[in-house]
Symmetry: D5
Subunit: 122 residues, 10 copies
């Protein structure tokens, strides 16, 4: 079951000086995401790309991996997975800006990509 | 015959809070589209890419596939197919923004791409 | 319905001198093949590659295209399509050697390729 | 000899409602363009990409192909070909916006691309 | 749990005439295979390619997909998965020749490919 | 009109000592070949690859280019062009082995490749 | 140990005339960067891309290489490496604008990219 | 020795009507540039891309090639080559806008790209 | 220092029946290999590909990774590294056949690949 | 001027035991070769690939680079360069087998590849 409590954070190591705060983007691409289609029971496979500008915290890489693995046997739609990941990460580290993109292999000849963005950037 | 009634929708699962509404883009790429050239009677083959920012509704994936299949034996020009798909999807789900792109394999040594956009985005 | 009578041939233009006959390979790749899955009724899309060493005859290109188009609304499995095309072309032009390869877009996450060869070559 | 009279048009099939006119882009890519270098007499080979937002008219595809073929034995420089095509198409269909790009294979180790744009877009 | 009983077969549709039997190769590529590392408990992701020359039987595509899915929560090493798949398919359809190739995404910076072949071909 | 007399040769510069003759392969790839379809009058575009093991002579590069250009306005089928080039080059330089491959852009959705080989190699 | 004193600079060779100063971007891509994960002790491998608009000084290429090599046996996290490099280069040459991008090979199935930018550009 | 006098120009063939002047971009890519490192004496190899919007004049292609060749045995740094080419071309044809990009093969494991821009565009 | 004692093996899981032993190839590709040039002291970076047909034993993946890491600060030439790895692995698991390929990034504009093979295969 | 005396060798580091001698292939790819066309005086640019199975000696990498650089201002044809390099390397290190491949950028729209092989291999 997806478990947001798996997410751990560490302090943003970049110098932070108020308005002149450094522009600093982190991207983590996981090519090993799988969940289950709630309609057919068949597994879905996708890539998950997380991009964010940290505020106080950065997400720890191994905890992110375990969080993604917690979706493995969960029945959940593409659109819901993507929003769920964005919400959980937003709660965990409250970044200045965040984008979550999921790319799904084809079903019935149709490939899908879902993009959720929270905050403003660039 | 193209049949817009095949299109089914489901409720947008993202949180929607008025002006601060979440930026949320859905893309579905079908590489298996075929219709018929009304002039020569020969089949046309293309890719159809749908991108949209949902408002109240999202289009259901299997119904989209069946809707695309309904063009299989229809005689219709590139430009008309693309506008027709955009109109039918706009009627079905009234998204905040939508883009329909069709890429057609070459005819007489010329490859074509048609892009229809409804609403503003980004 | 697949119609082998659509296939037309023309005389092999290469010089042919008994045992010292010229090594001469013809390849035609069609990226616009579609038939129908007899089980689900959904369309299948594939590429068909024909390679052959002609003996007395070569297949005429436009007739080959029309022959492929005759499968458009036929319910037929991957393995059967490939063998059927090989048999029809073998009957039409009796080449010294022939290979028919069909590459099919994924169904249920599995892509397939079927290769039929008649005669010996190289 | 390049012959602008070969160009034929058909009515723009998209709905057109004044200021709210639909954003609709058409792209035709020809990878089979050849003319002759007026200096050396050697043939030049290039790709021609036409992109436009139609106003009242769209260019008919087969007539575009024949128009391009009319340059086959014409001695004309890269820069002149590109401007000539843009002028002829502008005269024929008066689009809201048009871009003509020619990509030329290398001469003396230098590859060239010429881009002509008429009107504003995007 | 991997379940060989999920595999179903159908009769080889190609003409079979003793020694002159037709050369006929079938390839199915699944890019959606996952099992679990028995040592770490972390999921493994790979591609499975099956190539075979059928004798009396061909494996049915949907049953192959379900058979692959039965490895989803199984703890099993790369080398054992590949031999297990080859053994199960050999039992199910006794092909003249078969090759099973598994390609695994990197672990600790090392990507692996395992190839098992049964019988002789080509 | 194709003109074999345009072909010029120069002496093979490699040391040649009877049976121990050096293995020496020359490949020239022209991506700028065009002729005319004798049936439709439309231009055909292709790539011509010449590979050979020289005996006494090598073909001079500029003369080869002019020879290819002499096909520009000739109405001739794919299969005939390829055999004609092979015959003319064989007459001009009598290589130990020669292969001529022509790759043609698609006509009616079908791409073609013709391979003519004279002599044995490797 | 990372050693900023290894960095050497030379004078910006471009003409510099106050407000009309020339727009001049330098990019150096190193595909041979390695440091050590402070948590696991395993080596990390990445690419480092430096882009900058010089003010008075440019960084000398060989000194940059030696500076990068000084991280070879340093235990340091991705985010910290990237900020450290940006700070050291900013101190050494005070460019008008600078961007440092590090791309890291996958760890636990996740590839990462870190982008640090100092100043404004374009 | 680099010789700016080798550069020849011809009149801009596009129609020029004051403020409504046509947007017209010319790009020439040379993949055959070589100069010498003034420090080590070893040859440097790079690609040079010139993009410009002509005002009164266009640079003639063969003269550009000879100009580039004049750097062949010149000892000169990356940054200086790029600025030198931009200055010479600016003097020769005074374009409305110009960009010169040099891409250099790796030295000591570092690949470099230098971009010089003169004037404003787009 | 390279340390062959780091290599650990496990029993070959494939069925082994004398002459009819199964054809079974294992490939491990490491894209994270680095050693030091004994002449210049600069680091070398390469990819190491191990392919083998196991006899009694297979090499354990994590131990292989640690063994490769033991070359990190070793001064050793390309040719010697490759032979050393092949010798150590041959001693550790005595495979029926083994191939070790190292691909090295460029030095002085020259990329190198070294291939060592022990035993016969295929 | 090409200078074979620049080539230096070192002893083959692989174990050599008569008939059971180890199969050991070395490949060096230089993408930075240039000479001059003796006919036109224009520079030629190519890639040179050397593959060999050493007997007693291996060619030292830096000396190979300097040897290649000695062709920089030499007027010499493609075919002659390739045979000259093969002869000089054969004299310098007498390998069991050697292959020299030169790939040349296009001249007059024709790209060329010359392959010289000395001895037998594989």
């Amino acid at each position: 079951m997806p478990d947001a409590k798996l997410l751990e954070c560490f302090d943003n190591p970049a110098p932070q000086d108020g308005d002149a705060a450094r522009d600093f983007v982190i991207e983590h691409v996981s090519e090993e995401f799988t969940s289950v289609c709630p309609k057919t029971g068949h597994p879905d496979f996708g890539h998950v790309t997380l991009r964010y500008v940290p505020d106080q915290f950065c997400v720890e890489l191994k905890s992110l991996k375990l969080y993604y693995q917690s979706f493995r046997n969960e029945g959940i739609f593409y659109e819901a997975v993507t929003n769920r990941i964005a919400d959980d990460l937003n709660t965990a580290m409250a970044p200045r800006w965040m984008q979550v993109v999921t790319d799904w292999k084809g079903r019935g000849g149709i490939r899908s990509t879902i993009t959720v963005e929270i905050g403003k950037h660039g």
